[in-house]
Amino acid sequence: MNPQRPEYLRPALVAGAVAGLLSGLPFIGAGNCVCCLWIVGGAAMAAKLLAAATPGLLTAGDGAIVGAMTGIVAAVVDAIVSIPLRSFNLGLARRLIDKAAELGGEMPSGVGGILNSSSGVLTPGWFLLGLFVSAAVFALVGALGGIIGVSLFGKKSLPPAPAAPPPPPPGPSDAT
C-alpha cells in the first residue's frame, strides 16, 4: 500500500481526453464496439501513466480509481466532440444499417424507427441524460480497464532501498 495518495487526476485527464476523442470521431469511434476498446485501452493507459509517475506499488484499488476517472473524462470529451459530428454520425449509422440489412437479409423491425426518431434536434435534456448514462457506464468499464492496466503494467516489486551508511568506527573509550 502506498503511504501517499497517488496523483490520479493527471493520468486520468490525459488518457480520458485521448479515449474520449477517439470514441467521438466517426469510423474510429466504432472501436468502442469491440468491447469498449478505447475506454478499456484508455483506462489501461492511465494506469500505465500512473504507475510511471508513482514511486510506490499500485494496488487494484488505485487502478479502479484512475480507470473510473478516465471513463468519466472520456464520456465528457466524447459528448463534446460528438455534438458537431452528430448529423454525420447518424447518417453513417443509417448507411451501415442499410448495408447490414442488404448483406444479412431481413432487418428486424424497430431499429429503423429508433434511428429515425433520433434524427431530430438534440435537446439539452437528452444530451444531459446521454452524458449521465455514458459517464456511469464508461466509469464502470474504465474501472475494469484500470484494474487490468495495473495488473499488466504496474510495478511488481519495489527496487531495493539503498544500503544504510556503515556505522562510524568506535572512538577511543572515555572510561579510563
Binding site: G63, A64, G105, M107, G110, I114, V133, V137, L144
Partner: protein, 170 residues
C-alpha cells in the same frame, strides 16, 4: 482483507451483472409488446457500448437484442465468472489473475475481431458469442478484487471515525 466486505462486493456485482444481462433482453421484449419509447431508451443505454448491427445480434420476438452476439457473450461470461468466483477464488485471498491468463483468454476474441475487421473472415454469431464468453469469465476476477481494494483504501484513508461531543459552556 475482511471476507464479509468481499462477500458484499461480490453479491452487489452479481446482482448488477444479472440486472445488466436482463436489460439486454428487456429491449426486444418491450419492442415486441409495442412499448417503443421504453425500448428505445434501453437500446440507447447500450448504444455507446455496441454497434447494435441487427445482423450480428441474436433476435427475440422479431427484434434484435440490445447488444451484438459478442457483447452478449462478454456479459454472459461476466455473469458466469461472478457466479463461479466463490468456488474458484473464495473471499479470503484477494489477488489479481496472472497476466498470462488474461492474454490467453483475450487472444481468441482479439483474433476473431481482428480477422472480421480486416475482412479475412466472417465468423458466425455463435463463435463471436463463444470468444466473448471466454473473455468475459476472467473479468469479474479483476472487478471484484479492484472494488474490494477500493473500499479498503477508502476506509483506511478516512481513518477512524471520531465522535465529537459538544460540551455546553456553563
Amino acid at each position: 482483507m475482511n471476507p464479509r466486505s468481499a462477500r458484499r462486493v461480490w453479491f452487489a456485482t452479481l446482482v448488477g451483472a444479472l440486472v445488466w444481462l436482463a436489460a439486454i433482453f428487456l429491449a426486444p421484449w418491450l419492442a415486441g409488446r409495442g412499448a417503443s419509447g421504453p425500448a428505445r431508451f434501453v437500446y440507447a443505454v447500450f448504444a455507446p457500448l455496441c454497434h447494435q448491427i441487427p445482423g450480428r445480434c441474436f433476435v427475440l420476438n422479431g427484434h434484435p437484442l440490445a447488444v451484438c452476439g459478442r457483447c452478449l457473450g462478454i456479459y454472459a461470461g461476466f455473469a458466469a465468472g461472478i457466479i463461479l468466483y466463490p468456488l474458484v477464488r473464495g473471499f479470503r485471498r484477494m489477488s489479481l489473475p496472472p497476466a498470462r491468463m488474461f492474454i490467453l483468454l483475450t487472444l481468441p476474441m482479439a483474433l476473431d475481431a481482428a480477422g472480421g475487421i480486416l475482412g479475412v473472415w466472417k465468423s458466425p454469431i455463435g463463435l463471436r458469442f463463444a470468444t466473448g464468453f471466454a473473455w468475459g469469465t476472467v473479468l469479474p476476477f479483476y472487478f471484484v478484487t479492484g472494488a474490494v481494494d477500493f473500499f479498503r483504501m477508502r476506509k483506511e484513508r478516512r481513518g477512524p471515525r471520531t465522535l465529537e461531543i459538544a460540551i455546553p459552556k456553563n
